[in-house]
Amino acid sequence: MGGYSVGIALLLAVWAYVGIVLQLGPGLWWTEALISGFVTGVIVGNIPLGLTIGATLTLLSLGLWTYGGATIPDFQTGAIVGTAIGALAGGVGPGLAVAIPTALLMTQMDVLGRAVTTIFIHGADRYAEDGNERGVVAMHLLGQLPWGLSRFIPVFLAIWLGSGPIQSVIKSSPQWFFNGMTAVGHVLPALGFALLLTMLPLRRYWPYLLIGFVAFAYLNMPIIGIAILAVAVGFLMNSLQTRRGEVNV
């Protein structure tokens, strides 16, 4: 039954820390559920599970974005904890049963991390007043601590202490529960697509939505084919617009 070793827990916690800080910095997308789930899958030795959980979470986050610094469900941590515990507890259903609540609960840690960082800007004010540039630099670089630790600590505790107990709760759950969670996993990408559509000018662009649908549903076109079709139509419409513009002028 046992959980994970301290070493694995530490490794995953460091992965979470580095992921969020680099997302703030260069923005390498390591916080994407697909990437963090995959890397977790590699670390715990269950790559297919990491791919499935990461991809499911990525799809339901399609339209989510931290507009103006808003807090959104933390699918990075969700994918890490969900994949790690799912690998022990027997697959996608249990993994998602852990991943989604984790992602929602972690919004509290995100708010905390964003709030605590305020300390450093006040520190920087004081150092700037004194003309102490090294102090200002230190304040900025230390700003990563609340951000990173607000991921590091929950991931470490959940994997190290939590995986045993959570796993035994999951193991004693009935089969219908996992069937239900698997169905949830299949349906939830609808949220990502719908969110995205609420942000796009659907009223003007809906015909293109139908073109894509027909290509797959009736013509059985593979996904890469649809992507190529999309590029072609995009450029075609662009050049048609340009030409119309020239005629009108």
């Binding site: 260069p26 991809a55 102090g135 697509f193």
Partner: protein
């Protein structure tokens, strides 16, 4: 609100525990102008390429490391600008004034929006145009947040994510690899955007506000995005099917007999993939029609799917 109050209370205590190097209290004045050559009476300086690069990399790598609710990206901006401030301003008083200027509220899209703004302000600081720098930051951070977030969060990321996730769901490691490479590409793009801002200086405002090219690109990307989404809704949610069957009495050649019909095959004859489309439409209506938040929509969808699975519909 509550976390801000809490934050105010804990501030003093935490600040003292932060290990800060305070040995550099006085900035040696004689390093002034080290990375720059003065020309002209107004003190405008030509920045060494190494100073410009140092500023660019600081901005690229660490802009949001100290992001906070109060002034958001302000401290990251100041940290990135420090090499330029050191090179341009010679007296301690001038530097303090410059540092304080950059500690005011600043927030924009970090990857598409901020690099051109930062590039332009680096060029302007070198001309000692502090006031112009401030108004340029305030004037452009809003529009570029809008444009940048649209391109990044509604077009580029979702299209990449959908393709990568569908590959991953099919069990291919290519999925995360595509995602990973796309993230790197997006980061590298910050370099030419910074250069653009640096070259244009104050003229960068025109590029943004006229925006002919930008709106064309947005149009094109929206068209592509729509087609891709239209194709991906059925392909990614293909597993959403009903296993329900029902018995039907058929009369053929005067004989009646019952046969089992799969509900899914009936649905497929009407419109294929009607269940995935129905779920997306429901989620869209919950958010657009009923104005529910994404989190509530998520919970409703999850409960609905769970219950439908219990009664054997999914």
């Amino acid at each position: 609100m509550s976390e801000q109050i809490e934050n105010e209370e804990t501030r003093t205590g935490l600040e003292e525990t932060v290990p800060v190097d305070t040995t550099g209290e006085t900035v040696p004045v004689d390093t002034a102008g080290k990375g720059a050559a003065t020309n002209g009476a107004n003190g405008a300086v030509a920045l060494e390429p190494s100073v410009v690069n140092r500023a660019m990399w600081r901005h690229l790598i660490t802009l949001q490391w100290s992001w906070n609710y109060e002034r958001m990206q302000a401290l990251g901006y100041l940290y990135s600008m420090l090499p330029v401030i050191d090179a341009v301003y010679k007296t301690r008083e001038e530097r303090i004034a410059a540092m304080k200027r950059h500690l005011v509220f600043y927030n924009t899209n970090p990857q598409v929006g901020s690099p051109p703004i930062f590039g332009a302000t680096v060029a302007l600081e070198a001309q000692r145009e502090g006031e112009v720098v401030d108004s340029l930051k305030v004037g452009l951070m809003g529009p570029l947040a809008g444009i940048g977030d649209t391109i990044q969060a509604i077009l580029y990321r979702p299209i990449v994510a959908v393709i990568a996730a569908s590959l991953a769901l099919a069990g291919s490691v290519l999925g995360p690899i595509i995602m990973f490479l796309s993230g790197i590409l997006w980061t590298i793009l910050m370099i030419p955007l910074f250069r653009l801002g640096y070259r244009q200086g104050i003229n960068v405002t025109q590029e943004v506000t006229e925006g002919g090219v930008l709106s064309r690109i947005t149009d094109m990307a929206t068209t592509m995005g729509m087609i891709v989404i239209g194709g991906f809704i059925p392909s990614i949610m293909a597993a959403v099917k009903t296993p329900l069957k029902y018995a039907q009495t058929v009369t053929a050649n005067g004989q009646t007999h019952t046969e089992t019909v799969a509900l899914q095959s009936v649905l497929d004859k009407i419109v294929p993939y009607i269940l995935p489309v129905a779920f997306v439409a429901l989620a869209y209506w919950l958010m657009r029609g009923l104005k529910l938040s994404a989190v509530w929509t998520l919970i409703i969808l999850a409960v609905l799917a769970f219950v439908l699975s219990l009664i054997g519909f999914l």
